[in-house]
Symmetry: C2
């Protein structure tokens, strides 16, 4: 296959795989696609270790890093050293009480004293994401991707000065145009069905509009789980696909077993677009946690990054307690199609096989 | 083009066009597709006139009729002659007051005494839809389609005994299987981006799952507005496409001028899935009307068919008053792609031209 994207990165297949798991990233790149590591959950020191590992396991193939530099969030003008403290003080007591009551009603115990706590901000802000960018650019990455709006112009310049291409996620044609204005090389047009932060327009409706709005190559994201969906994304005008939820259940993924089981069993109706994770709308596995934030008793969610600061320890406690009714995480509607654990290599192979079959079928229909 | 659907109906192009306007229905069928008239708003006598007109203008080409026989609604067990009265008495005064206040705050006058009022139930029930079916089957229709669940088994049998194929709209794979169990010949798998009554799963995610779930041919619905989207729908495994919002703005459509302008100007973010029209979730143009039903003051919506009975006169008053802030109607996200008025013939031609271009592009990408 050959598109501007395969040429740009020297890859065989225009399949981009977003994952927080280094094993998946390396396996996808080795299989001819482009693995992209989500840096969000890592401190700069941890990220350094992950990227070192990928460098050692990717056989010289290109890979990317994804950071989150939201265009807008609370505390953007606070000095870095006061950021966490000042943000913490902005969280109302009523919200903390709501979370405690919710966990209490499901018997979720507090964290033990020795448990890792307080990793409450992550890379959700410019201040915390920039050190991640600096770490990433010390490695031979081929792509720096940014979620939640256009990356700052100086970050785009910095990446370009390292010979690194920049991608950004867009959920409207207007977003896409803004991103290209600051120098983005590839637009990831992401439909509402995608897991994680997501807009309202579906992939089917969004992709052609973004393709028409910008001159740079577009990747189709949201709902891409098999080769038919890949073919559909390409038919819409994309030059490649961006996948995410698909990789949560592969053998190489370090997804907690409880979450993996939920995803294998879930249907496409078992996700919901909710602000209960970060304060911005994100598609999550629907459960008692997401329902509680929509209920009459809910105090409403807080703006980014306050909501995640409010709930991060709670989500960690839920994870440790095994209270699966409350354990939520980002997941796209495409989890309805993933029903078995397979190797990354096998998934890549199936994608291409189904893609070819879809094209052959289209040719038969027109009699070409 | 040739699929099981073109063979089944003897049509040239597997493009189905849902419209409440007879002119559009006839024009699509004459252009090689299949026009499908939405019967909902017509009394049996009116429907008879519409179908007679189509028979005289369709040049012997096949066309279809779409009715609404919801699988569940309030009053399903009321005797037909008491239906309207008993349903009316179930509408709370608080709901009536909310609607009156809303209209009052936008200066919408009451209907004049001579205005047509009281067409409050339409074909929303089995009792009101059956006479429509009887009228339809007296005409040389090729297809009877049903929205909102599987049609009653005896209606499927009746249609089949007239040599008429039956289609039904499905928004989950489970719905699709149920429909095939009662004898449906074609499943219209409709994604959440579609206008009117719609589910939660997007077209991209839904179609392959429905294709895998049933043996009958599947049409892709929701978000199909240009030939790239048609190609995508077919790549997902569909054997044809079902379109709707696309036809609201064509020359032949009798869409009120106010609505046509709103659609031409709207982006894909200007729709919302709302219960404020019929009590079941339907995608509508988002405006002050839909927002009001989501507001703090909203009494909540009523179940089908009570909600439409509550709001039908209000919507008629809004239409006559020209209060465009409140004028809502069913519309899919694809209205973001319709920016000019064109003839039905021209739209059909563009669909096929873009479809061919999309296929040629896919072939270039794989080097075939």
């Amino acid at each position: 296959m050959r598109t501007r994207v395969t040429d740009m990165f020297g890859i065989e297949l225009p399949i981009f795989a977003f994952s927080h798991c280094r094993d998946v990233v390396a396996a996808v790149s080795r299989a001819g696609g482009m693995g992209v590591l989500g840096a969000l959950y890592f401190t700069p020191e941890e990220l350094e270790m992950e990227l070192k590992w990928i460098d050692d396991h990717v056989d010289g193939k290109p890979y990317g890093v994804d950071v989150v530099m939201p265009a807008s969030y609370e505390g953007a003008d606070f000095p870095a050293e006061e950021l966490v403290g000042r943000l913490q003080s902005m969280i109302p007591e009523g919200h903390r009480a709501f979370v405690e009551n919710l966990l209490g009603s499901y018997g979720v115990p507090p964290l033990s004293a020795d448990a890792e706590a307080g990793k409450v901000l992550l890379g959700w802000t410019d201040a915390t994401a920039r050190p991640q960018v600096e770490v990433a650019l010390r490695h031979p990455i081929a792509l720096l991707a940014n979620a939640l709006g256009p990356p700052p112009a100086d970050v785009v310049e910095l990446a370009h000065s390292h010979g690194v291409k920049v991608a950004a996620l867009a959920s409207t044609p207007r977003h896409a145009r803004k991103q290209v204005e600051v120098g983005v090389d590839v637009v990831v047009a992401q439909g509402t069905e995608a897991g994680g932060h997501t807009g309202e327009i579906t992939t089917m409706v969004l992709i052609p509009q973004v393709v028409d709005a910008v001159d740079v190559p577009v990747l189709a994201a949201g709902g891409i789980g098999d080769g038919r969906q890949m073919a559909a994304g390409m038919a819409l005008g994309a030059e490649g696909v961006w996948t995410g939820s698909l990789w949560l259940t592969v053998e190489e993924a370090d997804t907690p077993e409880m979450a993996r089981q939920r995803i294998l069993e879930a249907t496409s109706r078992d996700t919901v677009r909710s602000r209960s994770w970060t304060g911005k709308p994100a598609r999550l596995l629907r459960n008692e946690w997401t329902d509680a934030w929509e209920s009459q008793e809910s105090p409403g969610t807080l703006p980014m990054p306050l909501q995640f600061m409010l709930v991060s320890d709670a989500l960690r406690r839920i994870g440790r307690s095994g209270a699966s009714e409350l354990a939520t995480f980002p997941a796209g509607q495409v989890i309805g199609l993933t029903n078995q654990v397979r190797s990354t290599r096998d998934v890549m192979y199936s994608l291409m096989e189904q893609y070819s079959e879809a094209l052959e079928r289209l040719e038969r229909i027109t009699g070409d």
